[in-house]
């Protein structure tokens, strides 16, 4: 990789606007995501974070420019954008509840050589539950499936939308570990309400308000500015940090466990 390629942002958004049912949800948003590390996309509820993620991959109608690794992609349909190297972990997991865990993962395989071993190493619990219907999994287990679907393929960037939403603190810590592990090899644009997870993981930050970008810069710098955090997010970033275990490189999700189905190869 050349020096220019290393410093070039992996994702560049320019003048992105999006509508849902005639209502503008993202307005003239511009920002870049560096080619390494985790960039947090922050803002109060309803400011357009999820809509921005969906607009980037074309899941909702939008205008503006989206450039992935130097290539304009805004004219491409969603499936082509994903195939060009975007991993998407949606809000609320969106696993296919009537498909088994193994089927959910097989459906996500798009590379010639999907990284099944990596997924099995990261999420050993999924192997035991491969024959189980995804709809019967706990929230944490469904998040495993959702993350695993994105990590199965080699991506240029991961778009991860509220991965800890509604999860128990222990599972939140495990999700954070997995994201930290993944970020070693792929840049991540992370929508996250849990500011301790943001503090733990994110290097850069982009803050939205009213569908617009109102702040960009270092995540820690932003979170350390109590007045700014309070004004833009409506909360102070001071709550106790979740318990972070030593990084084992695995994501067992032992709480909220639903009965395991008969094991089968992923």
């Amino acid at each position: 990789m050349t020096a220019a390629a290393e410093t070039r942002p992996i994702l560049r958004i320019e003048g992105l606007s999006a509508h849902i049912a005639g209502q503008q949800v993202v307005e003239d948003v511009s920002f870049t995501v560096p080619a390494t590390g985790i960039t947090a996309l922050l803002g109060r509820n309803g400011v357009g974070k999820t809509s921005t993620i969906k607009a980037i991959i074309g899941l909702i109608d939008r205008t503006g420019a989206v450039e992935l690794d130097g290539v304009r992609i805004e004219k491409d349909p969603t499936f082509k954008i994903i195939r060009s190297g975007v991993g998407y972990v949606p809000e609320d997991r969106e696993v296919f509840s009537k498909l088994t865990v193994a089927e959910n993962l097989r459906l996500a395989e798009r590379d010639d050589a999907p990284r099944r071993q990596l997924v099995e190493d990261l999420f050993p619990d999924l192997l035991a539950r491969s024959a189980q219907m995804a709809g019967t999994l706990s929230g944490g287990q469904q998040q495993m499936v959702s993350l695993a679907r994105a990590l199965l393929n080699t991506n240029k960037i991961l778009l991860v939308d509220e991965p800890t939403k509604g999860l128990a603190p222990k599972i939140v810590a495990e999700v954070a570990e997995t994201l930290a592990e993944a970020a070693k090899t792929v840049p991540i644009l992370l929508v996250e309400q849990n500011l301790h997870v943001v503090r733990q993981l994110a290097e850069g930050s982009v803050v939205l308000s009213g569908g617009r970008v109102v702040h960009t810069g270092s995540a820690l710098g932003f979170l350390d500015d109590a007045e700014l955090t309070q004004r833009l997010l409506g909360v102070a970033a001071e709550a106790p940090a979740p318990e972070i275990r030593e990084n084992t490189g695995k994501f067992p999700v032992t709480t909220e466990a639903a009965p395991a189905g008969k094991g089968a190869a992923l």
Binding site: L59, T78, R83, Y88, E94, F96, R106, R110
Partner: protein
């Protein structure tokens, strides 16, 4: 007792025809959200294609019957694939326009069939065995009912196998549940759309040939008359559920037959009443997704 058995088998035969139409309708709506009013035209074209095979060969043996099934299914599949690829594909997410297009196509197709084959019914002969009956518990069941039932069961098994054991089947099942997430995994779901239309059209075309033997004739209105009940079956079974469509097909047809016989020809009314009850108390249908 013999009357009950006869009504039961007649209902099962009719249910088989409903299923062959409703299976495609249900999958198409479940995956794409398209309310396909042109589906009856796929059935009618299949029926006429099958009839043409019998007429042109001048034969009514089993071989010709099986050939007519193949040709009918192929005609239905081709018409359906054409409809999806040329007319529907540009209109995804525009449900009103889709509805208008399929409704218009259904009317245009009937006019086209009128022009080609005339407005009067054309009568069809099948293998001689079809005209015979088989006695079960004292009831003499017309043999063509068994053919319809067996064909529908085979189609159901083939569809279930396809949906459970192939990648495209998996894509269709996932797409019925959450279409946008399928595309967000990098899958071109439009190919699945065309495939579902084609499979649905093939089943309807096959149903058309079988319906022509069940009723003894083909007419340009054949598909339309079955489509109404197939829609009812699709809603009662649950939009997008193949198993639901199968169960509802049998339930609706058997109920219709019994009501016609025991309640003074009120079969159609009772079926509509059943639809109203399902919509009131279980809007998602017997096995449909709740949303």
């Amino acid at each position: 007792m013999s009357t009950v058995v006869l009504l039961l088998f007649t209902g099962l035969g009719l249910g088989a025809l409903y299923f062959l139409v409703a299976a495609g309708l249900s999958l198409i709506y479940g995956l794409m959200g398209v309310l396909n009013f042109a589906h009856g035209a796929f059935l009618t074209l299949g029926a006429f294609a099958g009839w043409e095979v019998a007429r042109r060969t001048g034969s009514d043996n089993w071989g010709i019957f099986l050939l007519s099934l193949l040709v009918g299914a192929a005609a239905g599949a081709a018409f359906a694939a054409f409809t999806e690829f040329v007319l529907i594909r540009r209109l995804y997410q525009r449900h009103i326009e889709q509805l208008l297009i399929t409704l218009g196509l259904s009317l245009a197709a009937v006019a086209l069939f009128d022009g080609i084959w005339g407005t009067d019914p054309v009568f069809i002969q099948g293998p001689a065995w079809f005209k015979d009956t088989t006695e079960i518990l004292g009831a003499r069941i017309p043999n063509d009912r068994f053919v319809c039932i067996i064909a529908a069961v085979l189609v159901l098994l083939a569809m279930v196998f396809f949906l459970k054991n192939t990648r495209y089947g998996m894509i269709i099942r996932a797409g019925v549940e959450n279409r946008s997430m399928v595309t967000a995994l990098g899958i071109d779901v439009r190919k699945a759309f065309t495939l579902v239309f084609t499979i649905g059209g093939a089943a309807a075309g096959l149903g058309g040939v079988l319906a022509s033997h069940y009723f003894g004739y083909v007419s340009p209105m054949l598909g339309g008359s079955l489509l109404i009940f197939a829609f009812i079956v699709t809603v009662i079974g649950g939009l997008g559920s193949l198993t639901g469509a199968a169960i509802a097909s049998v339930a609706v047809a058997v109920l219709q037959q019994f009501a016609n016989f025991y309640l003074g020809g009120t079969g159609d009314f009772v079926v509509v009443l059943a639809l109203a009850l399902v919509l009131l108390f279980r809007p998602s249908g017997l096995l449909g997704r709740t949303s």
